[in-house]
Symmetry: C2
Subunit: 425 residues, 2 copies
């Protein structure tokens, strides 16, 4: 499938050209009807959700001896592996196509299986085991390094040789729409202490995307780069909320901790890697060439457009403050997976690998306020006269992502969250 060609396949469900959810996408999510009913797995199409639990119950989708779609997470389905993912995707694509009568012409079944997206409550789609955060944007690492160490020492010696990463916190990953509490913590203006304690004054977002691991590897056995994508089920948008002042005081020598682990937000629909396949593009030239275990010939990046908007409580509307693209990342997904497991570390179904902040080459493509307002020195200006260097209470941050085809989009919907004031106890 070539994204420059008009979409050949059409659904009997009406889908506008700007919708994120045409039949080319078919992302998976966990939803609960607002009226009643248990959490279950569905697929988005246009402004609808199709319940896979219903289709499985009726025998229209069947991938295992036991039901896997009447579940509160995608884990049981993902654990079946890539052959099962492809089989289910092909089945759903056929069931929703304009030519296929089994759903199209069965009004009673459609009544039972279809829900308007506005009438459902989306839940965290995955039971996340371990969450890893990479640091794969050269522009982001360079900008942050320049601010804190100077331009000549911006990139540390290891950065061009390996996809730097650290382990993050799974427990505080929340679904889009969840408000996020401003954290309290220690901070030190001088970096040498003594610290003060209080609400963070440098609350930030980070524009990231994240892969969901569908099938893992045994402890002690690496995943070669050439097989890495067989282990990845799909992707979501990821907002890694960050408290820069807390982070800065705590992070030496063992890395970020309380500056990051108070909350991260993900978008509800997991876009399968198969839906992103037409949007593969070449990634940045890698020089020095990666070590053998990190080599990934061919188009290893994905052309995914990214937008961030901010709306303060006294603003009429959200205002775009960043436009970036997933293809800017220096280290690609296959390299991240190969590196993560080269020492034998085991990935498991449901693990989440986030990209790190995705900044582009221009000042309006930086993926966090630290960079956009350049460490507080270039405040962002908004139409109502307000400015921002970091987030204020009640600010709402929304991120969206989509691949642009000819007359259609494969999109991720959005991840949104609002800042709640700190609790002073």
């Amino acid at each position: 499938m070539d994204p420059a060609k008009p979409a050949a396949i059409r659904s009997f469900v009406s889908v506008g050209p700007d919708s994120h959810f045409p039949i080319q996408n078919l992302p998976y999510g966990v939803f609960q009807p607002r009226s009643a009913g248990a959490p279950q797995i569905g697929v988005a199409i246009g402004d609808q959700v199709v319940s896979l639990a219903v289709l499985e119950d009726r025998g229209l989708v069947r991938v295992s001896d036991r039901p896997v779609f009447d579940k509160p997470t995608l884990n049981a389905f993902m654990a079946l592996g890539p052959a099962a993912w492809h089989q289910v995707r092909a089945t759903i694509s056929k069931l929703l196509s304009a030519d296929e009568p089994s759903l199209r012409d069965n009004a009673a079944l459609r009544e039972h299986a279809f829900f308007a997206q506005k009438d459902v409550h989306m839940r965290l789609p995955v039971d996340i085991g371990d969450y890893t955060d990479f640091y794969s944007s050269r522009e982001h690492a360079t900008n942050v390094g320049t601010m804190f160490r100077g331009a000549d020492k911006a990139l540390l010696p290891n950065w061009l040789y390996l996809p730097v990463a650290y382990h993050g916190r799974s427990s505080s990953i929340v679904i889009s729409g969840t408000d996020v509490r401003r954290p309290c913590g220690q901070m030190s203006a001088s970096d040498t202490g003594p610290p003060s304690f209080g609400p963070s004054k440098a609350l930030d977002f980070e524009l990231e995307m994240a892969c969901i691991v569908g099938s893992g590897n045994d402890l002690g056995r690496a995943i070669p780069a050439g097989k890495a994508l067989d282990h990845v089920f799909g992707m979501v948008i990821f907002n890694d909320w960050s408290a820069r002042d807390i982070q800065r005081w705590e992070y030496v020598p063992l890395g970020p901790f309380l500056g990051k682990n108070f909350g991260s937000s993900i978008s509800p629909w997991v876009v399968p890697m198969a839906a992103l396949e037409p949007f593969r593009v070449a990634g940045p030239v890698q020089d020095p060439p990666p070590l053998a275990y990190l080599q990934t010939p061919g188009d290893s990046a994905y052309d995914i457009q990214l937008d961030v908007s901010l709306q303060g409580p006294r603003m009429d509307a959200p205002h775009r403050i960043c436009r970036s693209n997933f293809k800017y990342l220096y280290w690609n997904i296959a390299q991240q997976v190969a590196h993560h497991t080269v020492n034998g570390c085991n990935l498991r179904t449901g693990d989440l690998l986030a990209s790190g902040t995705i900044s582009g080459p221009t000042a309006d493509s930086y993926g966090c306020l630290l960079e956009l307002a350049w460490k507080g020195t270039r405040p962002l200006e908004f139409p109502n006269g307000e400015t921002r260097t970091y987030l204020q209470d009640s600010d709402r941050v929304s991120m969206t992502a989509w691949c642009q085809g000819n007359g259609y989009r494969v999109g991720f919907g959005e991840v949104t969250g609002r800042v709640l004031p700190a609790i002073i106890e």
Copy 2:
């Protein structure tokens, strides 16, 4: 209960004075009879295991409407909270006491409920959500800082103000007895690259202990230091295997990753905090005084003796290479919990908080080979003439821990593991 007094309570089960598992201990574990049967929860006493699943089934132990002990992990039981933990502990203590006939005089029930420890296979006792590794030994942080930054810059400015920590990898935590594969990875002798790739040449152990979180907190709500211990179910011994060469090249600026996440080992028996209560002692003097949220008046440390032994494939017996004590830690458990959650980060049932390497003041009390052999400059010598600076293939590392009472021990058993050679692919 005062550890200097002889143990007043006795069990009808015979327990020697050096056993780790007298009636004063009653640690929980998950076992599977080697003959047959499902994983279930038991309590160690002497050289026996008592099946709580059997006692629950017979109505002798009952803590919830639903069974919680016929499970493959402790999570369901732990999630009931501290009142339930105390009730069950009191019940088991009574059932096993010399004065109580219900088990003592029922040979048929004992036949069904008791297993010899040598006849059972121990499993990972907990479904671990997030694993956090602290860095709470001042001696360890000072030694490592001295080696890598010089004595004048050994402790970084934040160290005396907060319990430094980072998130580790849950997926690769294994039960005692599991062999651990030597990892491959990037390393650079010069710290500036270009790196080489291959098996780690600086494989190390780290002597740690870890708390298991029994009941968590809501996202956004801190746990005050004074309530912290209500959230901790118990403790285990923890070996945080580390590849120093991989760690050193990768760890700036975001902390350890592949140098640590290839494997960590825990002991199988979770010793309840109630069993450790008699062994509370004063911790190190903290100067500067901690910020208000980190203040913990009273005896906040635990006197737990720690031993590490090493046996190479050509050695006749294990040789002790370290004797340390949990009481040396600068930051105590309540401070770790209070700090971890002060930003609103949520702990969950089953989370694991490791202490960091526990080094004491003398050269024979250092908790890892990096310190014991002082970065390779002072090789350890063994009776058969061999030396070690780091671990060799087939070396076995075993750690044990116990509190010494008057005529009895409250112990942790051991955590042991052997090094397997790297896989070269």
